[in-house]
């Protein structure tokens, strides 16, 4: 605790803007042990509570501090199937709940996880799934994002036959296509996929078309829907269809595929004046991507006014604090604007040239325009990173009669089962867009209930 908090080394900005490699390094052994040693082994570890997976953080931190990496991995792997992912791309609500966060210097839990996971792969402790028994039951998992993978792993470990159906050419879902390489190198996903053992992965499978949901239902003892929440939130304003207004997911997927396939990008923003609408993680990913593509200027706009710097009494510890943050992409460059509502896009010849907007302020909890603050911002590319509104569930509804909830997400009960017996759903598809760590947690939880369901059937 006396030791100051120190994050693992980040590569110099100039260097990392020149390539697509990960921004952050895995912490070296000594640093990781020292930082893990900052954990106070609290009698009430709020971090565990802050973590959707309930990771036994003090337990693996203690093991790391003592140099018992094997034990640390064993403990971490018991609650988290993919510390290799969460150690890189989790916003770490655990750290927000750390008792040391009371003094703004929480234990570097996420970096510790990453160090444990990388160590485990390096040492060969991560081995392909080899279930002790086979139940003879078969489960179809639709979607190979973190929720689908977690559910698949848990079910396979329990001895069920698992087939994953993935619409894209490669498995990984949002991990592979939504997250830039500089945050999660795709080799990390590949080495994990290599450990899936008996799990069968069918790529380029357009479930709903071929095979149909009905066919899956006939063929498998249970289905886990983990198709994510892919419907982007739209901005229905003038000029939306101008050339140069693109959706974040299209942009990120394109870049990821281009890198993977060694082809040129469809959306190359080199030399452009780019505006990103949306101040969230996706917006930041777009920002980093645009900077690496060589954009002339990037501005990231957030609709709401800036949150407080430091503490926010409205979100007291150990809750997730809504405060002003700077992501690794944001520290690399670009400008940020807050409290600005985009009212329309302008362009010539069908090509975007500027956006119009007005400043907004919060009054009695609601956002209102501030008269006289209208502005025009020149832009030749706008990326819409406005979030998601639900799953692409049309085929599901049509073929299986699965119901949605009021938010456009797939409705499930406490056991993650949809209104159709034996059809379960986990992750963003039922939760709405959220964190990878939540997806893993739901995948695990749903698998648990699928297992019970299979045992009973």
């Amino acid at each position: 605790m006396r030791l100051p908090r120190a994050l693992p080394h980040r590569r110099p900005i100039a260097e990392r803007l020149g390539d697509w490699h990960e921004v952050e390094h895995t912490a070296p052994d000594a640093d990781a042990r020292a930082q893990a040693g900052r954990c106070m082994d609290c009698g009430v570890p709020f971090c565990t509570n802050g973590c959707p997976l309930g990771n036994p953080i003090p337990d693996f931190a203690a093991a790391v501090a003592r140099g018992r990496w094997d034990l640390a991995y064993q403990r971490l792997a018991a609650t988290n199937d993919f510390p290799d992912f969460t150690g890189r791309i989790c916003p770490a609500p655990c750290e927000a709940a750390c008792v040391l966060a009371l003094d703004d210097a929480p234990v570097t839990i996420e970096a510790t996880e990453r160090a444990i996971a990388d160590r485990a792969f390096a040492e060969g402790w991560v081995t392909p799934i080899a279930p002790a028994r086979h139940t003879g039951k078969r489960v179809a998992v639709v979607g190979s994002g973190p929720a689908g993978l977690a559910a698949a792993v848990q079910l396979a470990e329990r001895g069920h036959g698992v087939v994953i159906f993935e619409a894209s050419a490669r498995a990984g879902g949002l991990l592979r296509y939504g997250i830039p390489d500089f945050k999660l190198d795709k080799s990390v996903i590949d080495r994990r996929l290599a450990m899936l053992g008996p799990i069968e992965i069918v790529t380029n499978a357009q479930v709903g078309i071929a095979p149909t949901w009905t066919a899956l239902r006939d063929e498998f003892d249970a289905i886990v829907i983990a198709i994510g929440a892919q419907k982007p939130r739209e901005l229905a304003i003038a000029g939306r269809d101008l050339d140069g207004v693109i959706v974040a997911m299209d942009y990120l997927v394109d870049q990821n595929e281009a890198l993977a396939d060694g082809r040129a990008t469809r959306f190359d923003l080199r030399g452009k004046h780019v505006v990103i609408l949306g101040g969230g993680d996706t917006g930041s990913d777009c920002l980093g991507t645009a900077l690496r593509q060589g954009a002339a200027q990037v501005t990231q706009i957030e609709l709401v006014p800036p949150p407080p710097i430091g503490r926010n009494p409205a979100t007291p510890w150990p809750a997730w604090p809504i405060v002003f943050r700077t992501s690794s992409s944001q520290e690399e460059g670009g400008a940020r604007a807050f409290g600005f509502r985009t009212t329309g896009f302008a362009g010539t010849n069908g090509r975007l040239s500027a956006l119009h907007g007005i400043e907004v302020a919060r009054e009695a909890g609601r956002l209102v325009d501030v008269p006289g603050t209208e502005r025009v911002m020149p832009a030749d590319a706008v990326v819409l990173a406005l979030g998601f509104t639900g799953a692409n569930a049309d085929a599901l509804i049509a073929q299986l009669g699965v119901k949605l909830d009021g938010y456009g997400n797939i409705a499930v009960d406490a056991r993650y089962e949809t209104n159709i017996t034996g059809v379960f759903c986990a992750g963003d598809a039922q939760r709405g867009a959220s964190l990878v760590v939540w997806a893993i947690a739901e995948g695990r939880a749903a698998a648990h209930h699928v297992d019970s369901f299979l045992a009973a059937s």
């Binding site: 605790m1 106070m40 082994d41 609290c42 009698g43 009430v44 570890p45 709020f46 565990t48 509570n49 802050g50 309930g54 036994p56 003090p58 337990d59 203690a62 064993q74 403990r75 018991a78 709940a97 008792v99 040391l100 009371l102 003094d103 007291p316 510890w317 150990p318 809750a319």
Partner: protein
């Protein structure tokens, strides 16, 4: 334990050495009683005492005269016996009893001469005593046909037969019948009387013809007042002041050796005399039963006493023959362990002895006219100084006998040598006793490792936490792991994690009526040695009686066990009985297995096997283990019932044991030794030290024993010092016979389910150990009341003053629908007839009943401490200083703690501190670690803390387990008296911890005139305690509070005391349930810390608290964010929520629901409740007191207190020369309180006031004496002189005219200068045990001290001009002592663990010592001092300076720093 009577008292005798019978001896006996009145007690009826009595030689002439008057013809030559018999008042029943007795007399060949009505004056008995008064008649018996040597034995047989038959025939259903005495030698008059009234009640005692050369008297202070005439003392052979801690074990073992008891001396066999130890009577009565049996079986009284209360012989300091005797005797009878001053007598011999620890006082005077007076206090008979030949005291383990037939005093050495040389015990031992080391070694089984080890760890319920927090730290450090804050997890019976059987048992501990012991600093009385093998016939003394295998300690490893298994020496014939059972047997296997096991054990003994090894080594995937504790205890109880238990020793080889509690249970339920093989193999697998692990277990065991005041494993074994929570009564009756289990609970079927569940983890399911979560919150572990949600919600509610959030907090805390944690979770409040909220008393008046728990400044930071105080003061509620004193700047403002604690360390307890309180709380025990002391490590003692604790920065401070001025209930009464004298405006409260019998103790405390009794639950918090204490000692407050309420109401004592409760209270529901169970005041300690920022790191003991509460680190303290407003908000929220409950209950004030237990119901069982919980029977909690409706259920008016007769009033009136006797107690104390109240801590200028006393001063002479006052005493003083001395001066010297040599005679009693902070004491004579214990600043010169001198001292100067007793300077961490070591024996007496011995050479030291001795000579006229000064250069080299090592280092550093700065 298990009986409801505990007493302690005053005891004494007067005897003519030459056996000259006289009337004056009787009168002096009665005078002793009068003078010991303050050591006795009365209950709600001030006229009914707890009991008093006198034992005399049979007054032959008087009885002959009376016989003649009644026409009874007494035979010549004393061939008759007289019995004082208590009979039922109902004439029919009386006649029935008389007939049974007469028949027994006749049957045994004796003849009834006739009966005499004992004349009495009933008007001197109080109404309660009169209600249950028996009829007193004397039976005259003619002795014939047996030789005189068999008379007493015959009379014993007659009495036992009569008692047993009256019981069997229900001739006396209400229990009046009692034979106070039936003897040809002695007669005993006793009853439920005030000590001073005994002589008025029995008119015989006024008869001039009634003469005796011995008078033994006893005045009783019983903790409760269920009136019982027969428990008054003396009993037939003894009068006892103290408490036998091992009573249950002692009684059990006598039962256990039943079949082995043979004696030709008892005609018709012993079986018809059973039970020898009559159950249900007081410990003293049972002690008398045993002593009587030994004496009538052929031993002398002193011999019997040596067997029952042996000296500390194990440490190797005793002469060889004596040690051999004790060792031999240990195989015949277990020590009766506990604080005891015992006076014993038969017709011609009278004597006294003390327990090995010397925990009760006994002072004697020998006169020049050959009388001996011995009593609990000096000065009980006025003896003119010129008639005093010598004065002294009994020392620990010492015996003192007057043989009136021989006409001489037999001293300890001679007496014991005589007994010890009766037989060649040493040779017998050498031949028949084997030591483990002597046995051939044998190959132990291979250590378990890898998968095999892990599977067994899982199967025996190990968790990650067990390894990480328990086993590994023990093996790394050799000590028990320490934790902090309280326990907040479910009771075992509410846990859904299949806890081990040991988790259902809670450790009992000593409080008030007996002291716990410090096993570290007073190690010389502790012993781990144990033995296994068949036990001997108690009556015989032959070499074969001691066939024993001696073990160094009760923990053995597999190599040791292999040796024992293979033993070929002597008569030993071991056998292993497996305690595993085939899993395939299915449901009901456990009951079946236990039955088979017990049968197998009996069969083994029938086959001549005499070491039974119960082993669960055979556990596999297919064989389930019987829980080891259950197996052991079942076998133990079965063999006891069969009467064959003593024919074999029991060993346990089990994988279950991993923590101290597990071992304590196995030993406590009868095992001689335990092999925790799995834990040891686990230690090896972790690469750690097995020896250290064993050491940690043994160390912890000593602590568990000493908590209960038990010093030897031999007497702890089978003593069953546990209470079960949640075990079905049938299981208890069959397998844990006699163990309290007040709530019933799970049966064998449930225990079987849990055994199966644990076993299943071994070979099914995940390979990892379960994570645990018992000591720390874990998501998948046990539920904790303090968890992320409750803590965060409470803090958020308080910070934002958001009542809705607070309601959410209460809901989170109280919701036990899904997972049960507490007993109150099983209760429902019966609401009804609601009234409007506005009609309920305001929150501002409810909050006044709230207190924060005692947390010392030192355990928590100044910021946190003051925040609580300010918050509570703003509310009109009270905060508690804890035991660390309080900084002066806080005394007169809102930073003041209204409750000032007086704990065993007495840190900073000055007169000034005491007068600044509204409430003086005597902490007897702490919920988190009852029976234990504490320690503040030097690193935490900074300048501020040192100042307030009157100690030295950087030097470790030790709080002893007991208060050294409270070894018994009458001592507590004395401390209450002292505190009231110094601050009559404050209420005195006494903090107890819940355990079975706490109600009885509460009654005693009420009778000791406390104003408030605090019942703390075991969930209470702490800054540091061994984990096993945190979890395993003490009971939930619901049980303790209910019991206290019931007993207080039934004894009609409830109206005079308030009841306060604490231990895990958090919400308004907790408060309301506590009130309904009888509490008026409520303590919330942890909750108040959480409200001010505590996040339950449970790191208080490490000084690393990151929120600045439990730390003294200046940097961490800056992180503290708590505010007084948080305190105010939290308590106001609770009070407001309480109001809502009151409105729903339809009452206007909290007072109206106090004790309304009828408003509570066992909660309806709803689905989802754990099956185990539904088996609990809560009637022990929900039972209303058995008392008429008009008996108050709550506090009505304060105790009748009067200090009007206090001697200080005469000083305040201007007198400066006063006579004093032992009934005038705490002289100077009341005066000191007045002075510091007026003048502050500084008191008066030095020499302002001198008061001269002549006589024998009562206890606590000069307690808390203020600066400027000098008390000069010509005479002698009793115990506790200069207690808490606060700057005054006390001078004690022999009276003018005394002819004895002052330096050889005792002049002050035990525990002088306890907790003194400043001032001087000069005593020209010897002092008793524990001189200057925990002194932190006083200076003293004395001519010799008893054992444990300067114990725990942290400051000041003590000069001893003569001999010192054993264990000098134990735990002494500061101050300096100088001892004149004329005989060069000091080194052997000094405990050098913490101190260094140096010559007296530094100039400054020489001047100090010389100067103080000169003062001593001048003030007391000491001859020895004068002689020393006259020969100074010659004697100076023989002074030894005793300097605590740590203290010296700190002083040197300080000096270096000062010089550096200069």
């Amino acid at each position: 334990m298990g009986n409801d009577f505990r007493d302690a008292c005053g005891v004494g005798f007067v005897a003519d050495i030459h056996g000259r019978r006289s009337r004056s001896i009787v009168e002096q006996g009665l005078e002793i009683l009068r003078r010991l009145s303050h050591r006795a007690a009365t209950g709600s009826d001030p006229e009914t005492g707890d009991g008093a009595g006198i034992a005399l030689q049979l007054p032959e002439q008087f009885l002959r005269d009376e016989g003649a008057r009644l026409g009874l013809e007494l035979p010549p030559n004393r061939r008759f016996a007289v019995g004082n018999v208590f009979l039922p008042p109902d004439p029919g029943m009386r006649v029935a009893c008389e007939q049974i007795l007469e028949a027994a007399i006749d049957e045994e060949g004796q003849r009834v001469i006739g009966w005499r009505d004992v004349p009495i004056d009933p008007s001197v008995v109080g109404p309660i005593g009169r209600d249950v008064m028996p009829v007193f008649r004397q039976v005259f018996v003619r002795m014939r046909r047996v030789p005189p040597s068999a008379w007493e034995r015959t009379l014993f047989v007659i009495r036992k037969l009569a008692e047993n038959r009256i019981r069997e025939r229900h001739a006396d259903p209400t229990g009046y019948f009692h034979v106070a005495s039936l003897s040809t030698e002695t007669i005993i008059y006793k009853g439920l009387l005030l000590p001073a009234r005994l002589g008025e009640f029995f008119l015989d005692l006024k008869e001039p013809a009634l003469a005796s050369s011995i008078a033994v008297v006893h005045s009783r202070f019983s903790t409760n007042t269920f009136p019982t005439w027969d428990l008054a003392q003396p009993f037939r052979y003894i009068a006892h002041n103290g408490e036998i801690n091992t009573l249950r074990g002692n009684a059990n073992w006598m039962q256990a050796r039943r079949s082995g008891l043979r004696s030709a001396k008892f005609s018709g066999g012993i079986e018809r005399l059973m039970p020898i130890i009559v159950p249900g009577k007081s410990d003293s009565a049972q002690f008398d039963n045993m002593a009587e049996l030994l004496v009538l079986g052929g031993r002398s009284l002193p011999h019997a006493m040596m067997m029952m209360i042996p000296e500390a012989w194990e440490s190797g300091t005793l002469a060889d023959d004596r040690a051999s005797f004790y060792r031999y005797a240990a195989s015949l009878v277990e020590p009766w362990d506990g604080p005891a001053a015992i006076v014993f007598f038969d017709g011609q011999l009278v004597g006294a002895t003390l327990d090995r620890n010397g925990l009760r006082p006994a002072r004697w005077t020998i006169t020049t006219d050959d009388r001996v007076i011995l009593a609990s206090e000096a000065g009980v008979i006025d003896v003119p100084p010129e008639l005093v030949r010598a004065k002294g005291r009994l020392t620990p383990g010492m015996m003192f006998v007057i043989d009136t037939a021989e006409g001489r005093i037999v001293d300890d050495a001679e007496l014991k040598h005589d007994v010890a040389s009766r037989f060649p015990y040493r040779r017998w031992l050498a031949k028949n006793v084997f030591h483990l080391a002597d046995l051939d070694s044998a190959e132990p089984p291979m250590p378990l490792a890898g998968d095999e080890l892990q599977a067994r760890q899982r199967a025996f319920g190990y968790t990650d936490e067990d390894l990480e927090l328990i086993v590994a730290p023990m093996a790394e450090t050799g000590k028990e792991p320490v934790g902090s804050m309280g326990t907040d997890t479910p009771l075992a019976v509410l846990s859904q994690h299949a806890p081990n059987v040991s988790a259902y048992f809670h450790q009992l501990f000593a409080q008030v009526t007996n002291p716990p012991i410090d096993p570290i600093r007073e190690a010389l009385v502790m012993s781990l040695e144990t033995s296994v093998g068949p036990d001997g016939n108690t009556f015989e003394e032959t070499p074969e009686q001691c066939h024993q295998l001696r073990l160094r300690g009760p923990i053995i490893d597999s190599a040791d066990l292999a040796k024992i298994r293979g033993v070929r020496e002597g008569v030993f014939d071991p056998v292993t009985l497996s305690i595993t059972w085939p899993r395939s047997y299915g449901d009901g296997w456990l009951a079946k297995a236990l039955g088979e096991l017990c049968k197998a054990a009996v069969r083994a003994i029938d086959d001549g096997r005499n070491i039974l090894i119960l082993s669960d080594r055979g556990v596999t995937a297919d064989r389930v283990p019987i829980p080891a504790l259950l197996a052991l205890s079942a076998v133990q109880q079965h063999l006891v019932r069969e009467g064959i238990r003593m024919q074999a020793g029991l060993l346990v080889e089990t994988a279950e044991v991993r923590e101290v509690h597990d071992v304590a249970l196995l030993i406590g339920f009868g095992a001689a030794a335990v092999n925790p093989y799995l834990a040891l193999d686990t230690v090896s697998a972790l690469g750690l030290d097995r020896e250290k692990y064993i050491h940690a277990l043994e160390d912890g065991l000593l602590k568990v024993m000493s908590k209960m005041g038990i010093t030897t494993v031999q007497s702890y074994r089978g003593a069953q010092m546990f209470e079960a929570v949640g075990i079905d009564r049938d299981v208890i009756e069959a397998h844990f016979t006699g163990t309290p289990s007040r709530l019933g609970g799970v049966g064998l079927a449930d225990l079987e389910t849990e055994a199966n569940a644990r076993h299943a983890r071994g070979w099914q399911g995940p390979r990892e150990l379960p994570i645990g979560g018992t000591y720390r919150w874990r998501r998948t572990g046990e539920l904790h009341k303090w968890n992320p949600a409750t803590i965060a919600t409470l803090q958020d509610a308080v910070r934002r003053a958001d009542a809705t959030r607070f309601a959410e907090f209460e809901r989170l805390c109280d919701d036990e629908e899904r997972a049960l944690v507490t007993l109150r979770g099983l209760l429902d409040v019966q609401y009804g007839d609601p009234i409007a909220l506005d009609d309920v008393e305001p929150a501002s008046s409810i909050v006044k009943r709230f207190v924060t728990g005692a947390m010392s400044f030192g355990s928590i930071s100044a910021e946190a401490h003051e925040t609580l105080a300010i918050g509570m003061n703003r509310l009109g509620a009270r905060s508690n200083s804890g035991e660390g004193g309080e900084e002066l700047h806080r005394f007169d403002n809102e930073r003041r703690s209204a409750i000032k604690q007086v704990a065993s360390g007495r840190f900073g307890v000055t007169a000034h501190y005491l007068v600044s309180a509204d409430d003086l709380q005597i902490k007897i025990a702490q919920g988190a670690k009852p029976g234990e002391g504490g320690q503040l490590p030097g690193a935490k003692v900074d300048d501020r803390i040192a100042k307030v604790r009157c100690s030295t920065p950087g030097v470790t401070l030790i709080s002893p387990p007991p208060h050294h001025d409270i070894y018994s209930i009458e001592d507590l009464a004395q401390l209450i008296y002292d505190l009231t004298a110094v601050n009559p405006r404050a209420r005195v409260s006494v903090k107890l911890v819940s355990e079975v019998g706490v109600g009885t103790i509460a009654a005693g405390v009420a009778k000791a005139r406390a104003g408030c009794v605090v019942i703390a639950g075991f969930e209470g918090g702490t800054g540091a305690a061994p984990l096993s204490s945190l979890k395993r000692a003490g009971l939930p407050w619901e049980l303790g509070l209910a019991e206290a309420q019931q007993v207080l109401v039934e004894n009609r004592l409830r109206d005079r005391v308030r009841l306060q409760v604490d231990g895990g209270l958090r919400t308004s529901r907790d408060v309301v349930i506590a009130a309904l169970l009888g509490a008026e005041e409520f303590g919330m300690a942890t909750a108040s810390l959480v409200a001010t920022g505590c996040v339950m790191l449970r790191k208080c003991h490490l000084n690393t608290c990151s929120v600045g509460i439990a730390t003294q680190d200046p940097e961490l303290r800056t992180r503290y964010t708590g505010k007084p407003e948080d305190v105010v908000t939290y308590f106001t929220f609770v009070a407001e929520a309480v109001r809502a409950h009151l409105a729903r209950l339809g009452v206007r004030s909290l007072d109206e629901i106090v004790g309304r237990v009828d408003k509570l119901r066992a909660r309806k069982r709803s689905l989802g409740w754990h099956a185990k919980a539904s088996k609990l029977d809560l009637s022990a909690i929900l039972q209303a007191p058995v008392a008429p409706a008009d008996v108050p259920r709550r506090f009505v008016r304060a105790q009748p207190w009067s200090l009007d007769d206090h001697v200080d009033h005469r000083i305040l009136a201007g007198e400066t020369a006063l006579p004093i006797d032992n009934s005038k107690r705490a002289a100077g104390t009341l005066l000191s309180g007045e002075l510091v109240r007026k003048h502050g801590a500084a008191g008066l200028p030095d020499g302002s006031l001198t008061v001269r006393f002549t006589g024998s001063a009562g206890q606590s002479f000069g307690a808390f004496l203020a600066p400027g006052v000098t008390l000069e005493l010509a005479g002698e003083a009793n115990d506790y002189i200069g207690k808490g001395l606060s700057g005054g001066r006390i001078v004690v010297k022999p009276p003018p005219g005394a002819r004895f040599v002052a330096e050889d005679n005792v002049i002050v009693g035990n525990v002088a200068l306890y907790g003194a902070t400043a001032g001087d004491l000069f005593a020209n004579g010897l002092a008793g045990e524990r001189f200057a214990v925990r002194n932190s600043g006083a200076r003293a010169v004395v001519e010799g001290v008893g054992a444990h001198g300067c114990e725990y001292m942290t400051g000041g100067v003590v000069i001893v001009l003569g001999a010192v007793g054993k264990n000098f300077a134990a735990g002494m961490s500061g101050g300096t002592a100088y001892v004149f070591d004329a005989s060069q024996t000091f080194r052997a007496s000094c405990n050098v663990e913490l101190v260094e011995l140096e010559p007296l050479s530094l100039d400054s030291d020489v001047w100090l010592v010389h100067g103080l001795i000169a003062d001593h000579a001048r003030l007391t006229g000491s001859a020895r001092a004068t002689k020393l000064l006259d020969n100074w250069d010659h004697v100076r080299p023989r002074f030894i300076k005793v300097m605590p090592t740590e203290y010296k280092r700190v002083l040197e550093q300080r000096r270096a720093r000062l010089l550096g700065v200069a």
